[in-house]
Amino acid sequence: MGIERIRQLAGRALPVRGDNVDTDRIIPARFLRSVTFEGLEDHLFEDDRRQLEADGQCHPTADPRYAGASILLVNANFGCGSSREHAPQAIRRSGIRAVAGQSFSEIFFGNSVALGMPCVTLDPATIETLMSAVESDPSLHAEIDLDAMTLTLAGTSYPVALPPGSRESFLDGSWDATGLLLDRFEEVDATAARLPYLQWS
């Protein structure tokens, strides 16, 4: 496996509004009934989409104006609830490369790191500015730069935050952690040998 360094992600943006958007909404549990992640993107926000359709409205992920977007804009505590990696998988497989929001649930955040999909945070007022701008003009160009730690929309840059360890793992390509964890495996065995409970049985 080659190492993929992630530094800049660019494209159009897609706003999905609401605090506490849980992973059951991102991908309802019935679509977890599979032994692969393939095709999950077809069911991204499926129940929310159907509810809105029934009311004659359109969920942003089904809105042709946002088709092909690369950066997902969200509000607070996005991805809370179930640990299902199916949620970030569905998002990533739909073409999204990065998520920008006010805050993320920890498990969702970690799962996204493991997929090479950065979740950066911004203050609520900036999120509102970004969402409104994109809703007015979905063609605006957005870019996340993990070197500069900025999100740039239509030429204006805003500071983003990302825990240093995760940022480093994107920049140095260690976000796919298994190789790193297998490195120096004698240290893993040494740690195990020190644990009292592993000597009891």
């Binding site: 640990s83 990696e85 964890l181 009292p196």
Partner: protein, 466 residues
């Protein structure tokens, strides 16, 4: 130097600090189930890796198992596929699987403790967010995603950022009719559904110290609903008494050695915390969620909030989805389904409390009611006490063990706009299998009372059945 349990356990399991600043943490116990692992085994095979510590991974089947007809092959072919994949993967890697024929099968967070696998001071990971349950024993336990399941299979480690610790001191006596479930719903309501992000919650105080292991598990289980990936209680005599004699607990003299180590990893008296919060348990009343996240709850005799103030949009969206109006009480809400089950509240003590209410009474004619024990041993123990007869005579379905209607990956689900009084942990939109279905979370006793009354009632006002 004084330290918290989290710091001590973390240090003991730290392999090294990774170049990116994260910790490479050794995982002492890896629990797996059929839903979040098949892809992990595929990734492992694709990269030519093997399972390094197969004896440190334990498997069971819980999410997709039918709770009625459990004969193989399942009528649900997708469920059959998922179970077959788990069986194949476990056989190939030499991983012990507690399947339906084992007599020990059940919800992964119920069987770990039951088998004595869950022990103080162990790091526990599982591809399931309710892994926090195991923290009740003073383990550091957290949910992970499938890629991290792959990492643990391949290396018995994960890369993780350190956590801060918030001590939540719960003090005072719980009044009759108020349970551990009400305490954790109170904590989530007070601290918010994302208040725990970045923290481990250490539950302390005399209320928690008096709790049984079952009750502590209910509290730790829903830590994640408050945003905390890890929740734990310092191990004490209650913990040791629970573990003594269990199948995978240390035996003989080793048990005493274990108790000494377990005591040593508890937080020191003068440990410092990143944050501290106090909760007066005596003021808590039976609690019911009215909205679409577990922080949206009220006491049973309290009016629903109005969509004003900071969370106007969230409250408004929830009221609209639920079809409730601000200012009314949750009591009197007519229910369609009553569900006693889930990793939060499907242990023997939960079933006893529910049975105490329904004994000699009958489920309201318009209500569909089911009890899904957390594990095969829970089911058997309940049957030995005659609880199955109590439930069946009252009109409940008495089912096989599994996750069931908590997340509706098996045939147990809500239909249309049904309202369910549920002892589970999540009231998210669509959680119980119908996109428009509605979930009210509460204690098992409150579910039992609602099943009998046909609507939400205050269990404090209902005498025991006879």
């Amino acid at each position: 130097m004084s330290a918290t349990l989290l710091q001590k356990v973390w240090d003991a399991h730290t392999v090294r600090r990774l170049p990116n600043g994260q910790t490479q943490l050794f995982i002492g116990l890896h629990l797996i189930h059929e839903v979040t692992t098949p892809q992990a085994f595929d990734m492992l095979r694709a990269r030519g890796w093997t399972v390094r510590y197969p004896e440190r991974t334990i498997a069971t089947v819980d999410h997709i198992v039918p709770t009625q007809d459990q004969r193989r092959p399942f009528r649900d072919l997708m469920a059959e596929d998922m179970l077959s994949a788990l069986e194949r993967n476990c056989r190939g890697a030499g991983i012990r699987l507690f399947d339906l024929a084992s007599g020990a099968q059940g919800i992964v967070h119920v069987i770990g403790p039951e088998l004595g696998l869950t022990q103080p001071g162990v790091t526990i990971a599982c591809g399931d967010s309710h892994t926090s349950t195991h923290g009740a024993f003073g383990a550091v336990a957290f949910g992970i995603g499938t890629s991290q399941v792959r990492d643990v299979l391949a290396s018995q480690c994960i890369a993780i950022d350190t956590l801060k610790v918030r001590r939540i001191r719960v003090t005072g006596a719980l009044v009759r009719g108020v349970y551990a479930k009400d305490v954790i719903l109170e904590i989530i309501r007070r601290l918010g559904v994302n208040g725990g992000v970045g923290y481990a919650y250490e539950y302390a105080g005399d209320t928690v110290e008096r709790m049984t292991m079952d009750e502590r598990m209910t509290i730790c289980n829903m830590s994640i609903e408050g945003g905390a990936r890890v929740g734990y209680v310092n191990p004490d005599q209650v913990t040791f008494d629970y573990l003594r004699g269990r199948r995978f607990a240390p035996q003989g003299d080793t048990f005493d050695t274990a108790c000494t180590w377990w005591s040593s990893i508890a937080s020191d008296r003068d440990a410092s915390y990143d944050d501290e919060v106090s909760i007066d348990a005596s003021a808590i009343r039976p609690t019911v969620t009215w909205g679409i996240n577990p922080g949206q709850s009220v006491y049973v005799d309290e009016p629903l909030p109005a969509p004003t103030g900071g969370d106007r949009a969230g409250v408004g969206e929830a009221l609209e989805f639920m079809g409730f109006t601000a200012g009314r009480r949750i009591s009197g809400t007519r229910i369609d389904v009553a569900f006693v089950g889930s990793c939060t509240n499907a242990r023997l003590s939960d079933l006893r409390e529910a049975a105490r209410i329904v004994r000699g009474r009958h489920v309201a004619p318009h209500v569909r009611a089911l009890v899904v024990p957390g594990s095969q041993p829970v089911r058997l123990a309940a049957e030995r006490e005659g609880l199955d007869r109590v439930f069946i005579e009252a009109g409940f379905d008495w089912r096989g063990a599994g996750c069931s209607m908590c997340l509706a990956m098996n045939p147990d689900k809500l239909e249309g706009r049904e309202i369910c009084a549920s002892s589970s942990n999540r009231n998210f939109k669509g959680r119980q299998g119908s996109p428009t279905g509605r979930t009210l979370l509460m204690s098992p006793a409150m579910v039992a009372a609602a099943a009998v009354a046909g609507e939400i009632v205050d269990v404090r006002e209902m005498a025991d059945g006879d």
